[in-house]
C-alpha cells in the first residue's frame, strides 16, 4: 500500500480552509452591510427630524387660550 498520508491531510485541510474562508467572508460582508444600514437609518432619521419645524425638538407648546 503506498504512503499517501500527506496528500490526504493536504486535501482535508484545503477543503476545511475553503469552507472556513467562505463563512468568514459571509460574516464580514453581513457585518459591513449591517453597519452601513445602521448609519443610513440614523442619517435618514436625523434628516427627517431636521425637516420638522425647530428641528423636531423644543417645539413651543401652544396652550388653548382661556375665555375671558
Amino acid at each position: 500500500m503506498p504512503d499517501t498520508t500527506g496528500v490526504y491531510h493536504a486535501a482535508y485541510i484545503a477543503a476545511a480552509g475553503i469552507y472556513i474562508a467562505y463563512v468568514a467572508s459571509l460574516w464580514t460582508r453581513g457585518r459591513r452591510v449591517r453597519e452601513r444600514m445602521a448609519a443610513a437609518r440614523d442619517e435618514a432619521n436625523r434628516a427627517a427630524a431636521e425637516s420638522l419645524p425647530h428641528g423636531g425638538v423644543n417645539r413651543p407648546v401652544t396652550t388653548p387660550r382661556t375665555p375671558e
Binding site: T5, Y8, Y12, I18, V33
Partner: protein, 240 residues
C-alpha cells in the same frame, strides 16, 4: 413611495445569517471528518488518499444541488419576475462555486497520488467540471457588472440555466470515452453501490452533512442578499 418612518419598518435585514441550520451542518461536517479519519478503514490499493473520496464526491453533489437550484430559480424568475427567485439563484450560484472549488482542489490532489498526474485535458470529466466552474464564475461576474437590476436578473438567469445543462454531460462523460482517468461510477449508478458497508455508511453520512452545509450556506447568502437589497433601497430613499 410610502411614507412609513424608517424606524417603524420591519427589521427583515436583522435576521442572523447563521442560525440553527448552520450550527447543525457544522456539527454534522465535524462528525463526518471524525468518522472518515478515525473510524473508516483504509482502502487496500490507494491507502490514505482514498479517504479524499468522502470530501470530493459530496462536494460535487452539493455543487450540483447549488447549480440546480440556480437553474430552477432562474426559470422561476424568467416566468414570474419575482426578485426573491433571482436572489435565491444568486445565493445558490455563489455557494455552488465554493463546492466546485473544493472539488477542483481535492480532485487533483487525489489524482496526483493515484494517477500520477494533477490534470489531464483529455479526461472529459475533468475538463467539463472546469468549464462548469468558469460558467458559474461568469454568472457571478456578470451579476457584478450589470447595473440595471432587471437586466442583470434576466441575463444571468439565461446563463444559470445553461450552466445546469452541463451536469448530465459531466456525470455521463465516463460513458462517452475510453480515454479517461475517472473510473466508472461506484455509487451513483443504476445497480447497487460497489463499496464495503463501512465506507458506504461514511459516504452517505458525508452526502447528508455536506448537503446540509450547502443549504445552510445558501440560506445565509440569501439573507445577506436580502440585507444588501434593503440597504440599497434605504440609501436610494435617503439620497432622494
Amino acid at each position: 413611495m410610502t411614507s412609513v418612518p424608517l424606524s417603524a419598518r420591519p427589521a427583515r435585514e436583522c435576521k442572523p445569517l447563521f442560525g440553527w441550520l448552520f450550527a447543525l451542518a457544522v456539527v454534522a461536517v465535524i462528525g463526518v471528518y471524525i468518522r472518515a479519519i478515525y473510524f473508516t478503514p483504509l482502502e487496500a490499493l490507494q491507502g490514505a488518499a482514498q479517504k479524499i473520496f468522502y470530501l470530493h464526491l459530496p462536494a460535487w453533489l452539493a455543487a450540483y444541488i447549488g447549480v440546480g437550484i440556480t437553474a430552477l430559480m432562474s426559470i422561476v424568475y424568467l416566468w414570474l419576475h419575482d426578485e426573491r427567485a433571482d436572489r435565491l439563484a444568486e445565493a445558490s450560484a455563489e455557494v455552488a462555486l465554493i463546492f466546485l472549488t473544493v472539488g477542483l482542489t481535492t480532485g487533483p490532489l487525489w489524482g496526483h497520488a493515484i494517477w500520477g498526474t494533477w490534470w489531464a485535458w483529455w479526461d472529459l470529466r475533468l475538463t467539463l467540471t472546469l468549464f462548469l466552474w468558469f460558467v458559474v464564475a461568469a454568472y457571478l461576474i456578470l451579476r457584478g457588472a450589470a447595473e440595471d437590476p432587471a437586466m442583470r436578473a434576466r441575463y444571468s438567469a439565461v446563463l444559470g440555466i445553461l450552466g445546469a445543462l452541463l451536469i448530465p454531460f459531466i456525470h455521463l462523460s465516463v460513458y462517452f470515452s475510453d480515454a479517461r482517468l475517472h473510473p466508472m461510477p461506484v455509487v451513483l449508478k443504476p445497480s447497487a453501490p460497489s463499496l464495503p458497508p463501512e465506507m458506504l455508511t461514511t459516504l452517505l453520512l458525508a452526502f447528508g452533512a455536506f448537503t446540509l452545509l450547502c443549504f445552510a450556506l445558501i440560506r445565509a447568502r440569501y439573507l445577506l442578499g436580502e440585507r444588501r437589497d434593503a440597504l440599497a433601497e434605504l440609501e436610494m430613499e435617503r439620497d432622494l
